[in-house]
């Protein structure tokens, strides 16, 4: 690494520039390997084009767009309440968490605030989505490095969390539960106690994963020192969430730039890891799941009573203005930049999704690794296709 910062940046820029793979041109030397759009390691439809020399990657470049569904255009022809249905499906593993930043942005523009009870329940569901999301990562990462069994445990225990989400919102996956000014419904009876029991199960699940995956020597050999992202590079590529914290940067939107959720009310900790490698990304996520359980246990005890909906007009017209609200979603920072011109529909919505930025580092990161490392690095960066392509 170069000494001064500007040198460093120039170096990064140069690396980014020649990380480019021209897929159209076939060269004689080396081999061009396609991983995807259909490939077991790409979580769906990402495509990685890698130029290989033996098993060593000379250059690799992700090609996306196989899941591009045109959200930003579609939001322009949907009313504000209809948009939440769409944005649910961006990060399809932690779907409730997608609705929150958009609703908060709209609320900022309308200058309404959800009542405290609604904020608490939002936070509870937000953290439940986080557990539902990251628990699958914990299992899936193991599959990507070759262990078959952990993912079954992940699916097994995730089911309990989904059940709790379903019990409140009526949907396992895409709840569409958040409303401008509050929530659609209140919590059902007995839900809090049941959730407490589920949290106990998830704690056990985390311990199980720690033993089965994190503690495994082969897993450590495959992930330690692989895919190291220095903090400066992580920042300049806009990495967020656990990927950033695994590079040693102590930044969490929930704590540092919290909007509209009640994280200030509970006592919790932001986990970081100094190494910045695949292993530390897994480790940070595991600790984060535990911390989410910790947060939830405190939140569940203190949900205030009161209404769940503020007074908002029946037909929602958002006053002109611009607002950007970001929340710490399971995958990282998810933000909605909403431009309103006083209509029923947003004028322009820019969706800042975490995986898009998280993945933009891959051409830089995948240079010079082995083919198996592509898979473990991608898995540890943890992306969801809907979140990249939108």
């Amino acid at each position: 690494m170069a000494t001064t910062e500007s040198d460093q940046m120039a170096y990064i820029a140069a690396q980014a520039a020649d990380a480019r793979v021209n897929v159209e041109v076939e060269t004689d030397e080396g081999m061009t390997l396609n991983l995807g759009p259909q490939h077991p390691a790409t979580h769906g439809t990402l495509r990685i084009v890698a130029k290989l020399d033996g098993e060593k990657v000379l250059a690799a470049e992700p090609i996306m767009g196989y899941m591009h569904r045109g959200y930003e255009k579609l939001t322009e022809v949907r009313t504000y309440p209809q948009v939440t249905t769409l944005v649910n499906r961006i990060d399809w593993l932690g779907s409730f968490a997608n609705e929150v930043p958009f609703i908060l942005a709209a609320e900022q523009l309308m200058e309404v605030e959800a009542p405290p009870r609604a904020q608490w329940i939002r936070t509870v569901l937000f953290e439940l989505s986080r557990i539902a999301n990251i628990s699958l990562f914990l299992g899936d990462m193991a599959v990507q490095v070759g262990a078959t069994t952990p993912v079954f445990y992940a699916f097994r225990d995730r089911e309990f969390v989904l059940n709790q989400i379903e019990r409140v919102t009526g949907g396992r996956f895409h709840p569409n539960f958040d409303r401008i000014g509050g929530l659609k419904d209140d919590l059902p009876k007995g839900w809090i106690e049941e959730t407490g029991a589920v949290l106990g199960k998830m704690r056990d699940f985390c311990d199980e994963m720690e033993e089965l995956v994190l503690g495994n020597e082969i897993f450590q050999a495959r992930t330690r020192g692989i895919g190291v992202i220095p903090p400066d590079v992580a920042l300049s590529y806009g990495l967020s969430g656990a990927n950033l914290r695994a590079s040693g940067i102590d930044w969490d939107i929930r704590r540092d730039a919290n909007v509209g959720l009640v994280y200030d009310e509970v006592d919790w900790k932001v986990w970081t890891h100094p190494d910045g490698d695949s292993f530390s990304r897994f480790w940070v996520r595991l600790q984060e799941t535990r911390e989410a359980i910790n947060i939830l246990e405190q939140l569940l005890g203190g949900i205030p009573s009161g209404p769940i909906m503020a007074k908002v007009p029946r037909i929602i017209k958002v006053p002109a203005g611009e607002a950007y609200v970001a929340t710490e979603n399971p995958l990282g920072e998810m933000g909605f930049y909403v431009v309103s011109q006083g209509d029923l529909t947003p004028f322009r919505v820019k969706i800042r999704s975490a995986s898009f930025s998280n993945m933009s580092i891959t051409p830089w990161l995948l240079k010079g690794v082995f083919v198996p490392d592509i898979i473990s690095i991608l898995a540890s960066l943890y992306f969801i296709l809907g979140d990249i392509d939108r």
């Binding site: 900022q108 400066d232 007074k311 011109q341 209509d343």
Partner: protein, 254 residues
């Protein structure tokens, strides 16, 4: 335009009447929530002042650094700082934000097409007919958001300072005839994909960008979907099936 079922039209009509009635009576029955709202704002006032100071300090730093290149600025209380610079100052502004304000975190980059859509909402519901008469849209003037604007396309980029906990939105107007700007890659390596996305969605050009290929759409795709004059053809073929914007609650039917 296909036939809209009778009952849907009726429900839409009912919804509209109800909304109008509510709008008339809103002054009467919203006293109580308004009171709480007032107390809440007084509560948050202190916070707002705090953030304002932060944003103003940041703005002062940037003004000093950029020496009057900032055309316009806006501080939305508690919601952040917007500045607008000329397109020639696009890269220097980002550099200044990074170096003077320690905004190392590159959040996102995109563009906004301020031209009013010639197609309206393409919903053709009752409310659309009331609010946005499609014919009116043609004559609609461009209205810019915070910090104003001059041309149709505006670049916008958000960078964030983790040490100072302040985010800056940098805007720049792109010339109408040839929308191009300098790439931010030398300053923020992460701008690469964001610029590719902006190019593809709006048809902009970024100079000194190493690799301006399509990022999402297939190579033979025509048009730039996020431009306001890009039509959603499916909506031409058949009307929006969920034509009622506001579902009536079960009790409100009559």
């Amino acid at each position: 335009m296909a036939e809209i079922p009778e009952h849907l039209l009726k429900r839409a009509q009912a919804a509209r009447e109800k909304a109008e009635a509510e709008a008339k009576s809103s002054t009467g029955d919203s006293t109580k929530p308004e009171e709480t709202a007032v107390t809440e704002t007084t509560e948050t006032d202190e916070e707002v002042i705090l953030t304002d100071e932060k944003a103003e300090a940041a703005l002062a730093t940037l003004q000093q650094e950029l020496e009057g290149k900032i055309l316009d600025s806006h501080i939305a209380t508690g919601r952040g700082l917007w500045i607008r610079v000329g397109i020639q100052d696009w890269r220097p502004a980002a550099k200044a934000a990074k170096e003077a304000l320690d905004c190392k975190f590159f959040d996102w980059l995109s563009a906004i097409d301020w031209m009013p859509s010639p197609y309206g909402r393409e919903h053709e519901t009752e409310q659309d007919l009331i609010n946005d008469d499609p014919e009116e849209n043609d004559d609609k003037e461009m209205e810019w958001g915070y910090t104003g604007g001059e041309t149709r396309f505006q670049l916008i980029c958000r960078v964030y300072s983790i040490s100072k906990k302040i985010g800056v939105m940098i805007k720049a107007d792109l010339p109408d005839n040839d929308p191009r700007a300098l790439s931010l890659i030398p300053i923020y390596a992460g701008a690469n994909w964001h610029e590719r996305e902006a190019r593809e969605m709006f048809g902009l050009t970024f100079d000194e960008h190493p690799d301006l290929r399509n990022i999402y759409l297939p190579g033979d795709f025509e048009g730039h979907p996020l431009r306001k004059d890009y039509p959603l053809l499916s909506r031409r073929m058949k009307p929006w099936p969920g034509i009622v914007d506001v579902e009536l609650l079960p009790g409100d039917e009559e």
